[in-house]
């Protein structure tokens, strides 16, 4: 019980500290949402609008940072994330709600696929060192060293364009309404192929590499030798004995990487104009949309913490050894 309470207290503290930091940091930056709005509309919002916008955003009353902080916690505890400035008066929860599925759909699915594929290749490369899969490593390393955005832009230039199967931007064909039907789903999939491929190409090598190295390490464990000695089939030794054990550290890495889905691949969303949360965050930062920023930070914080917890639990479930510390 004490252990559990300790963990919970620890995570609560982390969450509190992260949220507090996330509250204060954006506010230390000079400029305010109104200015950003004006600068984004260079010359097309008149200076007269400043006053009305300040009223609109509720920035006219001068509250101290501390008061705002207290009010923010009050809001949070009521489950209210406030109203976004950029999309005033849309509630932050709504903005997040509309973009989160896209991010989770694209980046989440890709992360999982990348993990599965990378792990599978890594198993192959590690089990049969020196085979063709092993030879793949330098190539994947190269690909993963290319900045995401560059790869994405090149992919757009090469594969997208008029008449191409691959659309260059967006999450689905304009004019469609998100719905689970035979028009929308294929379109959404079609739009996700290029960005997904980009993420896949550049993130897979990490998994391959770590799985390969774990496989190499595990392959020289005694129980693998025993498994060979037992005359088990190659497949069984490779998968059920070697890969099963080598997977453990990778799984916790994977759980952690799930936490970074939201913040991690913002540039892919930018480059492919993908209507996800990363892009939303980028915009919010650009336009000093504190409520939205905080909302997204909150999501990130929670997902990283949950992923952390997941990693702990995954380890506990997958590894029957209870460690004496």
């Amino acid at each position: 019980m004490r252990f559990l309470l300790q963990r919970v207290a620890f995570y609560l503290f982390t969450a509190w500290a992260a949220i507090t930091l996330n509250f204060f940091i954006p506010r230390m930056v000079p400029g305010d949402p109104v200015q950003s709005l004006i600068s984004r509309n260079q010359g097309r919002i008149s200076a007269d609008a400043i006053a009305s916008l300040r009223v609109l955003f509720g920035l006219d009353s001068d509250r101290s940072l501390w008061e705002q902080y207290v009010a923010y916690w009050g809001q949070l505890l009521r489950g209210d994330l406030g109203l976004s400035f950029t999309f005033f008066p849309a509630p932050v929860s709504e903005v997040i709600g509309s973009s989160l599925p896209w991010t989770v759909g694209l980046v989440g699915v890709t992360t999982i696929v990348s993990f599965l594929l990378g792990t599978a290749l890594g198993v192959g490369a590690g089990w049969r060192r020196g085979s063709w899969i092993d030879g793949l490593l330098p190539a994947t390393t190269f690909l993963s060293s290319i900045p995401y955005f560059w790869l994405g832009l090149v992919a757009i230039a090469l594969f997208a364009g008029p008449g191409s199967f691959f659309p260059s931007s967006g999450g689905y064909e304009p004019g469609l309404v998100p719905a689970f039907d035979a028009y929308f789903i294929p379109s959404a999939i079609q739009h996700s192929i290029l960005p997904a491929a980009t993420i896949l190409v550049s993130s897979m090598s990490g998994w391959i590499l770590s799985m390969r190295n774990m496989m190499v390490t595990v392959a020289s464990e005694d129980y693998i030798t025993v498994a060979h000695a037992k005359g088990l089939s190659e497949r069984r030794v490779a998968l059920s004995y070697a890969a099963r054990n080598a997977l453990l550290p990778n799984v916790s890495g994977f759980a952690l990487s799930l936490g970074f889905i939201v913040g991690g691949t913002l540039l892919v969303e930018i480059v492919f104009s993908y209507p996800g949360l990363g892009f939303q965050l980028f915009q919010a930062v650009g336009s000093k949309d504190y409520p939205l920023m905080q909302g997204i930070f909150l999501i990130i914080t929670i997902s990283v913490l949950v992923a952390n917890l997941l990693a702990d639990v995954a380890y506990l479930l997958l590894d029957p050894r209870t460690r004496k510390s």
Partner: protein
């Protein structure tokens, strides 16, 4: 012929290939008879484990078998050379005919699978036609054989004590009733009570099942007590071979003699312990001639030139063999 189950002929094992190679096992001849316990002792680093791994072809890289033959005589059918088996044949051969118990039981069991999984695994691999129920019954019986209650089947290795793990490994080694069981220091990490318990059970099982054991340890007193015959290794070679009691009573090789004078006795009068002066040879720079000669109190001219050959020193005792120029071979080895 019928009485031999495993013949090792001129086995050489190297670590590495080419110029980097280190020869850890040199030209070893050894015969294991049906149903006997052959003890293998020697200085640490003398190549005991290498020999065991080499003859089953389980050496990790960079180990390679660089010569020799390992001939296995099945109960029925023609003899096979283990070293020429294809991987698929080798897999079939393994465990069904020779099984191994390695030194560290903690590391021999896969930590993430239950004991039952690992036991059933090996039965299924070799008897794919058996039914799940029959396999389970077999597994339970095996555990009972080594004195572990059947409800332990669902435990993970870490939930068992060191002794239990070791016994699980022994049970697993006997699962397919092989002809040969190789044991590499199976009890080193255990206390004497546990050690005796396990060995007692093993002796009992051997009685019942009739397999042969190659037992590796550096605990001479244990060997003397437990095995039928003992082979002593030094510097990658077998330097002496004899029935246990004879070896203890009358060691022929100076190294064996040194060993026997290095451990204190628990009972009886305190005796003088002389030990062996000097330090073990470096495999990369083996002394010329007899590897033991720099440390040998009885070395004489020529020991540093000529590699002594393992041969029988007595006409009347064909079971004994020694590789020392003090005891030149008078009779061919009876094999």
């Amino acid at each position: 012929m019928s009485d031999q189950v495993l013949q090792i002929r001129g086995l050489c094992v190297d670590y590495g290939v080419g110029a980097d190679a280190v020869r850890a096992v040199r030209d070893v001849d050894l015969t294991l008879h049906r149903g006997e316990v052959l003890g293998l002792a020697g200085e640490s680093g003398s190549g005991k484990s290498t020999l065991a791994y080499g003859l089953t072809r389980l050496l990790p890289p960079p180990g390679v078998v660089s010569g020799g033959q390992v001939i296995y005589h099945p109960a029925d059918g023609p003899p096979v050379d283990v070293l020429t088996l294809s991987p698929a044949k080798l897999r079939e051969f393994r465990w069904a005919e020779t099984s191994i118990v390695f030194q560290g039981a903690m590391n021999s069991l896969n930590p993430v699978h239950k004991v039952s999984t690992q036991l059933l695994d090996v039965i299924r691999a070799h008897e794919p036609k058996s039914t799940a129920a029959s396999r389970l019954a077999r597994a339970k019986e095996l555990l009972r054989l080594v004195g572990i209650s059947a409800d332990r089947l669902d435990s993970y290795p870490h939930q068992l004590s060191g002794g239990m793990r070791q016994r699980v490994m022994i049970a697993m080694a006997l699962a397919l009733e092989p002809q040969v069981v190789i044991m590499d220091e199976p009890t080193t990490a255990l206390d004497v009570v546990m050690q005796r318990q396990i060995l007692g059970q093993l002796a009992e099982l051997r009685e019942r099942l009739g397999f042969a054991v190659l037992f590796i340890t550096h605990d001479l007193s244990l060997l003397v007590e437990f095995s039928d015959r003992i082979a002593i290794m030094y510097g990658g070679r077998i330097v002496e071979e004899a029935p246990a009691a004879r070896l203890y009573a009358e060691p022929l090789h100076p190294y064996t003699e040194g060993l026997l004078h290095s451990f204190p006795a628990l009972h009886g009068p305190r005796r003088e312990l002389t030990g062996i002066p000097g330090s073990p040879p470096d495999l990369r720079a083996m002394p010329s001639g007899c590897a033991f000669h720099p440390r040998c109190p009885k070395a004489f001219d020529g020991c540093d030139e000529q590699v002594p050959v393992l041969g029988a020193p007595y006409v009347d005792d064909p079971a004994r063999a020694v590789a020392c120029r003090l005891h030149p071979a008078v009779a061919p080895l009876s094999r």
